[in-house]
Structure formats: structure tokens, C-alpha cells
Symmetry: D2
């Protein structure tokens, strides 16, 4: 689906590399909050065999802001080393200042990330005018060795990237797309953006309709634990099969509400434990599920047929 | 489209009466804020000839909270008197207390409204627990002579009706549906609701995808000024025509952003003036468009081909 | 305390009539939500004997938006009839439109209220610019038979009246003051306002410091149940006695947190029941305290020595 | 003023070291966003001669989240090296995770900071329950080599530290106080806290009343540019002089509104330029004042007599 347009060769390559389902990788910790790079590698080895298009490392589900910068880079190295060559790697390189974001893009590029993902700076949220954000995104893109995507997550940042910003920056040759986790704005971004700009749905809750309206893929937390049904929904959406798509969309939404909707990263990690991956605890002060919550979640996922006894 | 299910005869009748496009009628005022019932009647006479399924009177676009109760009832009388018999009439009967809401349902029923529309009470927003809202909706429904719909508008009320509330009340024989103006929740409501429950999209911005996911219609402010393209999109959506639908959806979204998105009720009224209806000023302290804003809006609507010179 | 300034005779009279503690009267209901005017009268008869400066009727604690307009006027009549002649009566006359607010001011004046209290219109909160609010307040004041006060309650309305608005309207001869329930803005309003403008603290939580900075009084929900300690704090504050005032302020804050802070109007009504008044239930969907909550509140108030066994 | 209580010797020492006015130091940048440590040193040398009690380095006004961790430590080193020995040094050591916060406390202690200031983690704001925050603060305090203060700034974090949290952690021997930038909660924190806990007002807007209610000092952005009037207000507040204090409070509030209220960090830096310090630009994407804004601000400060021609 999507708009049928003539793209430059470069934009066409980006579109190909960004089309499909991405898992926003979680960062495995032990009970003391130490990073377990071995578990990270074994998770990725399993995911390598799926139809996932790639990985987003150092995003919200990766608890990136809970890591030191050196820890972030260790995690990224482990991913680059383990990911199969066909997987696209996006790395969270958005910091609170333009300067530090540029520096992170350089570090991530050196390690081997393909794209940088730029969350909106939000510490000074009230001062993040369209003008300030446009300058930020353009300057980072200009100085970054790798192309970048915007990351719109008002639930965390309190900032909704405006259609004006998207319109303005989406023609930039090195700003190739946006991951949108806002509720209900994705169509408006597609409408505003330059045709070559790649929109990625940031939640399984609206993945199917996003594809129908022209999104090229999705970054779905559920794909950490259950990549296949996510890839299936992508396939159906791209094929424009309404009946099938609606059914699977509602089913995945139900699962997503139980896992990510109710519990966030901690729920995703619990679901990974159920799905044969290492989820493990979150890093404090973010709390993992209690034993009771985890037991109940397992039962609910079994009740909807998503887990087998 | 929509779920194929067996409905009781009663629910099937409601579904039929609620399927399609509704105009949320504006209330015409003169410059001093006096209601012009004659203008109201002439607007409706024009709309009677359209394919609109019906009218929502005394909603947000009707500036219902800016009217006294007696004015509200005068407006409703004018609508009931003028609407052609095939049009379904929903009236805003939601007040801040259960008792007053019930009283408004009685008054509206006596005048001839077919359905009451219940905005969530929100003066004491922090106290509106699921439990409180369920009690409110059920008690109003029980005592109302006419069936009711919920009205979810977090942008105004600060309250997002939870899927728990929808799940709980959607089986009630007299709570027949919900108008949803929230960004991005409509699919979740369809998933949670009893299959016979009728969801209506509260904005042209997501009307097409709402229909694809199972909404039965929409209450679209744009339909006050331009009913036909709205009805066309409904027809396309129900027919599941993806290419055509996407194109018209993006087009109407562009118009809707210029009109309702940017200016709210005041913009809708200006668009009505352009479209051959009486829009006129809003009631203070809500301000109408300035002459400059109105001129610019006309030019923008001409630029996108929505208005002819 | 307060600024020492030359006031016009008229302003001096208002200042005298607004200086002190006001009880924001609750509206008594039976279990079915019917108004009990007899209970209202007996509450007021008890309060008449206190040092309260007057009553605010039809405010937030009066659940005014949960009443029909005719009910509101019945309540006001009961207050006017029962209040002793030395008590100042402010009535909530702020509606969502300028026109209806003016009409309510006329009705309230006819019944005998001394001042109208104008909550900011907030249904169209996003459109309530400084300009719109200034126009609204000035137009209502111009056409109202009685002087008015602004009512700033962002916790309910989502709107914080700006210092620009206060600066602009505070010189108007018929806009005589403001009840401020915002957290922490009162000093800024005093700084911005015309010297004759009367600021009333909207909560016991900051009553003492408000008086030290120049507020003329307070509208304190606690005064419904326990008028004397509120009047005592006023006296101490006006006298500028720091040690005593700090101690009583902390004590009343502790009580206020248990009652109003935790439970809102429902808590105030429970405290009235404890204090020998008729509190009774709130009107649905606002829920009263459960029996357990009420028992625990009584114990907590006894533990801090506010209630005797 | 303040509560007269018996403190342990240790708590008495902390109280002495935290009583007075602190400047939340800004970080000087050149036009390219490079840190100018020499300018930092010359600013501090000037401030060393004032009556300021000490410095908060790496706070909101220091744009700490816009710096890399290694930059943060360079800045701290410069401050420790330059501050006169009588000044107390607090360093922002609060990160998004407990682990990284502990690490920053170690780094800051090694460099020579006296106290760590812990902003609430807020990336996962919705998950920051009282329980999570209590665990976080206590664990950091236990493992930090230096005592810590909480930093409550809901305008930035979206989180208001509850009185429950304050009550719980304020008895911990290594959690010695809190800087509170929330509007209107400071008295409630004093009421809830263990008597030895030191409250610092986070804004000049409520400094005087905070002192009257028992705060031991303030962290005032204005003190970067104009330390003396801030110290004067402290002296008056501690002395309980109402008339004088009210007058100076209103005057400083007027200045603070023009500078910090309207322009935030960028305004503070402009005021520093006027006051004989190096303010300079903010780091992108945070924007400095335009030439016009700066000119107008200078005129306004001259108009209120705060700057001389």
C-alpha cells in the first residue's frame, strides 16, 4: 500500500530498509541492575531467525535513559555484533542537547548502527518551539554520519511533534522517517510529510490502520516476545486484506493491552520470559511485575490463546 | 464492514438509525448572541436534502453549554420541527449530575428527540471513577424515556472513558452506542464493547479507518458545511475501497485541519458561511474568526479546491 | 496588614464587606439527591452565630453545576432568607457564556445576593485567551446589577487566570476582587492588581501566608464545619503574629488535608456531620464517603484533637 | 524562625550548611555550545565575595541534562576548585536510574561536592509510585558517600513528590533536605517532614513566605546575577520583619517574573550579562534571548530600578 510515488534511489533504499516490523529491544539486567550482554546476544540470535526487518536498540523499551552513556554503547556493540546482516539497526541517539545528540550519532555510527533515532529533547519542554525542534533535527542530521529518524512519543516527553515540523524536515536527505507513538496522529503526519518520508507505527494498537494509510512498518514492543504474529499482521496490512487484518489487529491489540498497555516495559519483559526469551527485571526505580502480576498475566495470555500451557 | 453478528431486533433497528453521517448542528446567533431560530430552520432545510443520516443537536458544535436550559429546548424544538422524518435526531442531554441529566432526557424526549447524548460529567473530573461513570450512565439510561449514547471527548472534559466502562455498559439495552472524539481509542472501544454497540467517529480526521475497523458512522463537524463529501467517504468506507478511501480521507483531513482543527466551532461556522449556510458568530466569550482569518481561510479552501471562486 | 493605600469610599466599603472568613456553603441532599432546604436553613442558623464574614453560595462546595438553574435559585433564596443581616452573600453566577452569566447575575441580584462570583468559562478552555476572558469579565460586570469577583480555580477549570487579566480588570469599579484557589499564585495576583482589589484565599492550606502578603480574607471549605478556628487564624494573620499563626496554620492544614484534600466536597460534608451540621450525601455521580472512610476520617480527626469523643 | 527543635549534632551541622541563599549556577557556553570553564571561574570568583551560603551546580539553571556526563564532571571540578571554602556545594547527581545516580554521587563526592541533589527520575513518570521513589531515594542515600537532598520540580518532571514520600524519607540520616520548586506545596512538606529536614525554596517568588513558615533557605536563579538583594530578603525573612519583607518580596518577584518567569534559563543568563557576570548563550536547542528581547528586558529592569543606566 502507501502512496505510489517516484523516489530518489537513495530514498528508495531507505524505504526498503525501514519497511517491516522492528523489535524495540529490551536491555537485560540481573537482579542488581547489571547488564547481561550474553542474554542480549541470545535473545537476538533467536530473533535473527524471524521475519523482523530489524531492531531498535536504546529506545524506551531499552530503558536507554536508565543507562550510562558507556553502558549504552556496550549494549549497541552487542547488538551490532549479534544481529544478522539482513537486519536494519536503529539506535537511540537523541539527547537533551543538539551537541550531545551529534556526539551520540558519531559513537553509534562508529559502532555500526544504520540509523539514529532522535527523541525530542524535553527537559525544557516549554521552550521546544517548532523553530527550536526544526533547528535541532536539521543540525543533528547535518553533522551525523548516519541518517536519522524522528521519534515522537508525547506520552513520555509531553511534546507532540507538529505537522509543521514534519513538513519542514521531511525533505531533508538525511532525515528519512519518524517513529510515531502518539495516539491518532499518524495519518496527519503522512499527509504533511514529503512522500519519501517513512512513517513507522510505534504501537501494535494501530499498526494495521497505519499500514492501510501508508505507514511503511512498525516498531512493536510485542515483537520482542512474539515476532511472528506481528510480521503476519504486516504482511496482511501490506496486502490490504481487510477482514483478516481487522481480526488479527483486534487480537494483537487485546494482547498488547494486557502486556504493554497495562505494564509497559516491565510487562514486555515478562512476556519475553513467557515467549522463550530472557526478559528479566527492569532497572530500578522502574519496578518489575510482582510474582502475582506475572502469574495473572500468564493466565490471561493463555486465556486468549496466545500462550500454550 | 463491521463485525458480522446476530443482533436482537431492537439493536438492529438502532444500528440502522445510527449508521451514516451526522451533522453536529451549530446554533446560529446574531452579533448580540441572540439565537436565530429562523436561520437554524433554513440550515436544516438545506441539509434535509442531503444523504446525512441525521443530526446531533446540542453538542459541542452547538455550543450547548453556552445556552440556558430553556434556550437549549427552544433549539431542539426548532430542529425536531424542521428535520425531515427520515433523519435521526440525537440531542445532548448530558449534565453534571445524574438527576439533571435524567430531567434533560425527559424534556428532550417530550420534544421529539430520538436519542440522548451523554457527555461525561467533568466538573469533578478527579472523582469520576469507572464506578461513578458506570452508575451515572446506567441510571440515566434506566430512567430516560429514550435510549442514550455516551459521548467521549477528553479534549474538552479531561476524561477518557475507559474500556472497562464501555465493556460494562455496552450490553445495556438502552445504552446503544458512543460518539468518540478521542484521538486513537476507537478500535479499543470496538474491541471492548458488546457487538451490538454502535461506535460513531467524532472527527473527520479518522473517519475512514474508523469505518474500516467497524464504526457504524460519524458525527462530523464538516458535514454542517459540506455534507456530500462526508457521505461519500462513508459510502467508500462501508464498501471497503482502500485506494479511493485513502485519497478522500486525506483530502477531507486537510480541509478539516484548516477549519475545525485550527479554529474549532468558529471555523465550522465560517465554513458554513462559505458553503451557503448561515454560520455567523459564536457566542461570547468564544470568539468568531477575525475578518482576516476568515479571508485567509476562504483562500486556503479555494487553494485545495474545496471552494470555487 | 495589607497595603496601606487610599481607597475610594466605594472600594473601602467593598473591602470591609469582603474582609474575613467566608464559608462556601454546601447544598444538602437526601439519599435520592433531592435538595433539603430545611437543612440548609438550620446549617446557616448555626453559622450565623459565628464570626464568619459571610457565605459563598453556589460555589464548588455547593455542587452548583450539579443543580438545575431553578434549583440554584431556590438554594440562593433559602440562604438570603436565613442569613443574618451582617453576613455578606456571594453567589456563583458564572456560566459558560457571557449572556447566561449576565442573566444569572440579574437573577441573583433580584433574590438578594450582594456579589456575583464568576468562575472562568472553561468548556472551550483552549479558546479562553486573556482577551476573551477580559471581555467576558468586563461585559458581565457592566451589565450586572451587583458587583462581581473573579473565581480562579485551575484544578477544576484547567485555566489559570493570568496576571495580565488581573491587572487589566482590577481597576474596574464593579470587579471588586478574586477568590483564588490556585496553588501559589496569590502573591503574584496581589502584585499585579490595582491596590483596591480584594484577594480572597480559596483554601485553608495557604490562608495564613496569604493574609501576611495582603489578602483580605478567605473562602474556606473547613469553615462549613469548623468556623471558629478559621476565624481565629484570620484574626492572628491580620495581627501579624508569626509564631501563633504558623502553629495554627499547620494545624488547620493537617485537618484540611484529611478532609478536603483527600475527599473534596464529600469530605467536607462528612466533617459537617461530625461538627453538628447537616452534611449528608453528595449528588451523583459524585460519591459520598463510604461508611469505612467516614469512620476512619472521624478517628483521624479525633487523633489530631480536632474532634472530641 | 523555623521550628524550635532539638537536632542531633549531625543534623544541626547540615542545617547550618544549608541555611541561606544558594545560586543555581549557570553553565557558560560560547556560540558553538562549548563550555567556557574560565568564565565559570570568573563568575564564581565574583560570587565568592557575596553573602551567598553556597552554590548548586548541575541543576536546571546549569542545563545539566544538556551536558554529557564527562562535561558535567568538568564543570563540577571548576566549581570545587574556585569556590571559597565557606561556600556549601550541592551537585545535581540525580539520573533516571538508581544505579547511575549512585555512580554520579560517587563521582561528585570524589571531586569534592558536599551534597548531592536528586531530581525525581521522570522518563517513566507514570510508574514513579511513592514506593518506587522512596526506594530510589533511600538506596541512593545509602550508597552515596555524601548526603543528599531531594529536588522537587513538577514543572519539569511532571511529578510532584508526595507528602507521604517526604514523611517517609525525611528521617533518613543521609537524606537531609529538599529543594522545592513546586507552586504552593512547601508548607505541606514542612508539616510532613521530620523536624530536622531542611526545606529550600526553589524560587524567589515565594521565598519570603517560605522562610516565615520554616524553610531554611532558597536556591534562587536571580542570585546568579543579583546575589545581594536575595541575601537581604533572607536576612529579613529570618528576622521576621513583615513590612520590610513583603515590600522586598514583591519587588524581587517583579524582577523574577521579568527574568526567570518569562524566559527561564535564557533570561537568567541575560540578567547575568547585565549584572556584570558572563551569562552568554544557552545550549541548543534551548534558545537564548533575541537581541530585541534582551534590549527590552534591560529596559524593563531599568524601569523598575533594578539596573542603573
Amino acid at each position: 500500500m502507501g502512496k505510489r510515488i517516484q523516489l530518489t534511489q537513495e530514498k528508495a533504499v531507505h524505504r526498503e530498509r525501514l519497511s517491516g516490523v522492528f523489535a524495540p529491544l529490551t536491555t537485560p539486567f540481573d537482579e542488581q541492575g547489571n547488564i547481561l550482554l550474553g542474554k542480549m546476544a541470545s535473545n537476538i540470535q533467536k530473533l535473527n531467525g524471524s521475519r523482523l526487518r530489524g531492531y531498535l536498540v536504546l529506545g524506551t523499551n531499552g530503558e536507554f535513559r536508565s543507562l550510562s552513556t558507556s553502558e549504552q554503547m556496550e549494549v549497541l556493540k552487542a547488538v551490532v555484533k549479534t544481529a544478522s546482516p539482513d537486519k536494519t539497526i536503529m539506535a537511540g541517539t537523541g539527547a537533551e542537547s543538539t551537541k550531545v545528540s551529534i556526539d551520540l550519532c558519531h559513537q553509534a555510527a562508529d559502532i555500526g548502527a544504520h540509523y539514529g533515532s532522535l527523541i525530542t529533547p524535553f527537559f525544557f519542554a516549554k521552550n521546544m518551539s517548532d523553530h527550536a525542534l526544526i533547528n535541532h533535527f536539521v543540525q543533528v542530521a547535518e553533522k551525523s554520519p548516519i541518517p536519522v529518524l524522528l521519534y515522537n512519543n508525547p506520552g513520555v516527553t509531553g511534546i507532540t511533534i507538529s505537522t509543521t515540523v514534519v513538513k519542514e524536515v521531511s525533505s531533508h536527505p538525511k532525515i528519512v522517517g519518524m517513529k510515531d507513538s502518539s495516539p491518532g496522529n499518524l495519518s496527519a503526519y503522512i499527509l504533511s510529510a514529503n512522500p519519501g518520508f517513512c512513517l513507522l507505527a510505534g504501537s501494535a494498537n494501530f499498526f494495521f490502520t497505519a499500514l492501510l494509510m501508508g505507514a511503511v512498518g512498525g516498531v512493536l514492543s510485542l515483537a520482542n516476545a512474539f515476532p511472528e504474529p506481528c510480521c503476519k499482521l504486516y504482511e496482511i496490512g501490506v496486502g490490504g486484506k481487510l477482514e483478516e487484518g481487522r481480526e488479527l489487529q483486534f487480537y494483537l491489540m487485546k494482547v498488547n493491552q494486557l502486556v504493554s498497555g497495562k505494564f509497559g516495559v516491565a510487562g514486555v519483559k515478562a512476556a519475553m520470559d513467557f515467549g522463550g526469551f530472557y526478559g528479566g527485571p527492569t532497572r530500578a526505580p522502574l519496578a518489575p511485575l510482582t510474582a502475582d502480576e506475572k502469574k495473572k498475566l500468564r493466565e490471561e495470555l493463555m486465556a486468549v490463546g496466545f500462550l500454550k500451557g
